[in-house]
């Protein structure tokens, strides 16, 4: 008889019209690292929400240590020793590390905090599991990797022994990822049981003992990682074979499309520039990538480039025309397409229908309006054409409210819109963020197709696989500056990592 610490047996959770979990069984052994793999909308998060008491399943039972338990709310889950590191950290930026760890279960005597005990417990845990943190540093001052260690300590401080990691590596550098993998192994060795939600097959292969795969709400199977391959995992997840490497010919760069000279952007948070003296160019028919860890000025730079934010100095030339001070509308209509970083914040009006979103930058063109009245038929036709060409799936076709669509299809809609618009330059910021491998493969192919059609492409990405696979040239941004330019064919992940963490920098020559 296996020693299962948590068993979720035959869980079925329905939403009206959708079966989010259809008879799913997940058994977590004591002391194992169990990966949960699945595309967007496969039901991973619903399953975890059931485990956390956020949803009550229609069918199925949950057992802890072989005994059936009822989890009606997150407090029940905490009482059972279940803890979770969320993808987006739940930390108070202006509190210290220690305060964040004890937040919610503060030790107190007569209503006064007794932090000394807490400090000791935290430091003991920190030493035991080799989770180095400075208990008195403010969260806003420490690195993302350290913030994650704080989240892990939070779970340990509450004596949780079932730890759920929700896509923990999305925000880390390669070096930090290695470190996290080691920490996870240590935790498992100490008897903690870990559920590890991820899209990244490499990490599963490296760290997990077993892996359960969900697809479209159904349980596909559980495999021993030692006896499987990446290819097998991905075909189980997607239901077909997926290519990892992007097929592409050698780039044939032509004329310069975008030229950026000495661009600076003032920071909103501190007195230094958040983007400092950035210069480079992008030619037609090549993919230039700006790599870097999140928060090193990429967002601000793209903001300045597209006009969403103010530029403080420098010059931007698009197809030979100085567009530094032009409006967003002008840039939109004169050769710039932009797949924004945050599809909900910038890319879409979520409460608009799909068709209305498709004409977001074009509604004023004669194709879509006459005398100020929107041509609804044209809008419908255009939207149907794009959704067909780019395989955007939605419940009610063009009339679907975008909010109800899955993240992948929302992103595909943006990609379709931006690629179809008249443009010379495509700025793609994290174009595959949060998407599953099938959608990533598709979007990558489209981007390469764009390149081969002679468009200039500026890719900004945090995903190193994407950076390495897709780009023809890589610029690394660190603290608002371009610190190095490397060739993806000759560089290694380790070298990139050194640039990204500021450990290495080139003395950059002037932009060509």
């Amino acid at each position: 008889m296996e020693d299962y610490v948590i068993e979720m047996l035959h869980i079925t959770k329905e939403f009206p019209g959708i079966i989010a979990n259809d008879d799913i069984t997940l058994q977590l052994k004591r002391g194992e690292i169990h990966a949960l793999l699945g595309e967007n909308g496969a039901g991973k998060s619903t399953l975890m929400s059931v485990l956390f008491g956020l949803y009550t399943p229609e069918k199925g039972i949950i057992k802890k240590d072989g005994k059936e338990v009822k989890i009606n709310n997150p407090n029940d889950a905490t009482d059972l020793g279940i803890g979770m590191v969320h993808q987006h950290f739940m930390l108070v930026d202006i509190f210290t590390v220690l305060d964040n760890i004890i937040l919610g279960s503060e030790p107190s005597k007569f209503g006064f905090l007794t932090k000394a005990e807490a400090r000791k417990k935290v430091m003991d845990l920190s030493n035991k599991y080799n989770l180095k943190v400075d208990p008195d540093a403010l969260i806003e001052d420490i690195t993302v990797g350290m913030q994650q260690r704080v989240e892990i300590l939070k779970m340990l401080y509450r004596d949780n022994d079932i730890l759920i990691f929700d896509e923990p590596t999305a925000v880390l550098t390669p070096q930090e990822i290695d470190e996290l993998m080691k920490i996870m192994k240590d935790l498992a060795a100490e008897g903690k049981s870990i559920l590890f939600i991820t899209h990244k097959l490499n990490e599963i292969m490296e760290v997990a003992d077993r892996c359960s795969i969900l697809r479209k709400g159904k349980y596909i199977g559980t495999v021993d990682v030692a006896n499987t391959t990446k290819e097998e995992l991905s075909s189980m997840m997607v239901g077909r074979n997926v290519k990892f490497a992007v097929d592409k010919e050698v780039a044939q760069p032509k004329d310069e499309v975008l030229k950026v000279e000495n661009v600076c952007v003032k920071s909103k948070l501190h007195s230094n520039d958040s983007v400092h003296n950035v210069s480079f160019n992008v030619r037609a028919g090549e993919i230039v990538c700006i790599a870097g860890i999140d928060g090193n000025g990429q967002t601000e730079f793209v903001g300045a480039l597209t006009g969403l934010d103010d530029i403080s100095s420098g010059k931007i030339t698009l197809c030979g025309e100085d567009i530094t001070k032009k409006s967003i509308r002008y840039k939109n209509t004169h050769g710039m397409s932009h797949i924004p970083e945050d599809r909900h914040k910038h890319g879409l009006v979520l409460d608009y229908s799909l068709e209305e979103n498709m004409i977001l930058q074009r509604y004023f063109e004669p194709d879509f309006q006459k005398g100020g009245l929107i041509k609804k038929n044209e809008m419908r036709k255009y939207s149907d054409r794009l959704t067909e060409a780019f395989d955007v799936r939605s419940g009610q076709g063009a009339k679907t409210i975008v909010r109800s669509m899955s993240g992948g299809n929302q992103q595909k809609a943006i990609v379709a819109r931006e690629m179809d618009r008249q443009h010379e330059l495509l700025i793609a910021v994290q174009p595959t963020r949060g998407l599953d491998v099938g959608a990533i493969e598709y979007i990558h192919k489209e981007i390469v197709k764009e390149r081969d059609n002679g468009k200039a492409i500026l890719l900004v990405s945090l995903e190193l696989d994407e950076v390495m696979n897709l780009s023809d040239r890589i610029l690394v941004m660190y603290e608002g500056e371009i610190v190095g330019e490397v060739d993806p064919k000759t560089t290694t992940l380790q070298e990139l990592g050194l640039y990204m963490s500021g450990a290495k920098r080139d003395d950059r020559k002037e932009a060509k």
Partner: protein, 381 residues
């Protein structure tokens, strides 16, 4: 393509929620009547609900005359509601409608009484006055990022005091009655032209204000749903950042929205005061019309046509208060009931959510999971 069931359609749900509000308001009103005087509560409620229809026995003519007055008095609150919902669709909460309405009163009465203008110019003046008031709030919002609610409230009071000063003067105010002169005495040309007065029992206050109100509601409906301008406004209202990303001119739209909203509010005053049915008295508080408009806009489900229906309902109940037997009840009970309904309007969204609960009410199985669940999912995927 899935068909959504009748009860799950947003429009039907909004309607149901609004009707629920109204019914609850009436029930609570009845309970209050019971507390004040239980014996006559049923009778009192009947009086409010029967309202001017009690004249149906007397003669159709009288009934229609009262019906006319009812319609005339509904005009300003409906238009204020239209002004509010128009701005609301663009993501602006124009609480300044009250002030824009007030400067509309100044323009209406000063131009007609003191200047003796023709009604068309008077009406134009009210529109311009309201628009200017909206423009000021809009500029503050667009250029200095001053919240439109703050600017609106300030401008409400500024408008009120200017109104007291200007209309309190000898040219406009009958000092012995301490209310403004009759337009029909000083400047008959300043009165709006009549409309179907014969049908409504010779009601002299029945004017073109009625059809204009309906036309405005339809125009707003068309602008919001069919035009590029409406498309921009709603996009800005739903997601300002996305509107900016797509190159829309946010500043221009903010100002334009408040100008139009203000113009409608100013016109509401014009279409009311230029009928001669109402006079202005020196007041120490901002006219409640603009605030009632907020409630009407929400009760009407933020729909231009819904606002007409909601406005008629609110005005009907208000009028009903006058038919209460004053031996037993204070006529302000009607105001109290309206306040309760208005208060409940805040719950329209709440009622909608309840109607929408997937688990509790098994209405249909085809709808999408509700938004919050969706959001939680998105976050975690």
């Amino acid at each position: 393509m899935e068909k959504t069931s009748f009860f799950k359609r947003p429009a039907v749900q909004t309607l149901l929620a609004s009707v629920l509000c109204a019914i609850l308001g009436i029930i609570l009103g009845y309970i209050i009547l019971c507390f004040m005087n239980a014996e006559h509560a049923g009778e009192g409620m009947a009086a409010i609900l029967t309202n001017f229809f009690k004249y149906r026995i007397a003669s159709t003519n009288t009934l229609m005359k009262y019906m006319g007055s009812f319609l005339v008095k509904s005009v300003p609150v409906i238009l204020c509601a239209e002004a509010i919902l128009f701005a609301y669709k663009a993501g602006l909460f124009n609480i300044g409608v009250a002030g824009q309405y007030t400067v509309g009163i100044i323009a209406a009465l000063y131009t007609s009484l003191a200047l003796g203008w023709h009604w068309s110019l008077c009406l134009l003046a009210t529109i311009v006055a309201g628009a200017v008031w909206g423009f000021i709030a809009g500029c503050f919002k667009a250029f200095f990022n001053v919240n439109e609610v703050i600017a609106g409230i300030m401008l409400n009071w500024i408008g009120l005091y200017i109104c007291n000063i200007i209309l309190g003067g000898e040219k406009c105010m009958n000092q012995s009655k301490s209310e403004t002169f009759e337009i029909s005495d000083l400047n008959p040309a300043g009165l709006l032209p009549g409309f179907l007065q014969d049908v409504f029992g010779g009601n002299q206050y029945m004017t073109i204000a009625i059809p204009i109100t309906i036309i405005i509601a339809i125009v707003i409906l068309v602008v919001l749903n069919k035009t590029t301008f409406g498309y921009e406004l709603k996009a800005t209202g739903h997601n300002k950042e996305a509107a900016k990303y797509s190159g829309m001119n946010a500043k221009r739209n903010i100002i334009l929205t408040l100008v139009i909203s203000g113009a409608i509010a100013g016109m509401a005053a014009g279409l009311y005061y230029l009928t001669g049915v109402e006079h202005f008295k020196i007041s120490s508080s901002v006219p409640g019309m603009g605030f009632n408009g907020i409630a009407v806009a929400f009760l009407g489900g933020l729909h231009p046509i819904g606002a007409i229906i909601a406005g008629l309902f609110v005005e009907y109940i208000t009028l009903g208060g006058q038919y209460l037997n004053t031996n037993y009840y204070n006529p302000q009970v009607a105001d109290l009931m309206i306040s309760i309904i208005i208060y409940l309007c805040g719950f329209v969204l709440f009622f909608r959510t309840i109607l929408n609960r997937p688990g509790k009410v098994k209405v249909n199985a085809n709808a999408e999971p509700n938004k919050t669940a969706k959001k939680a999912e998105e976050k975690e995927v």
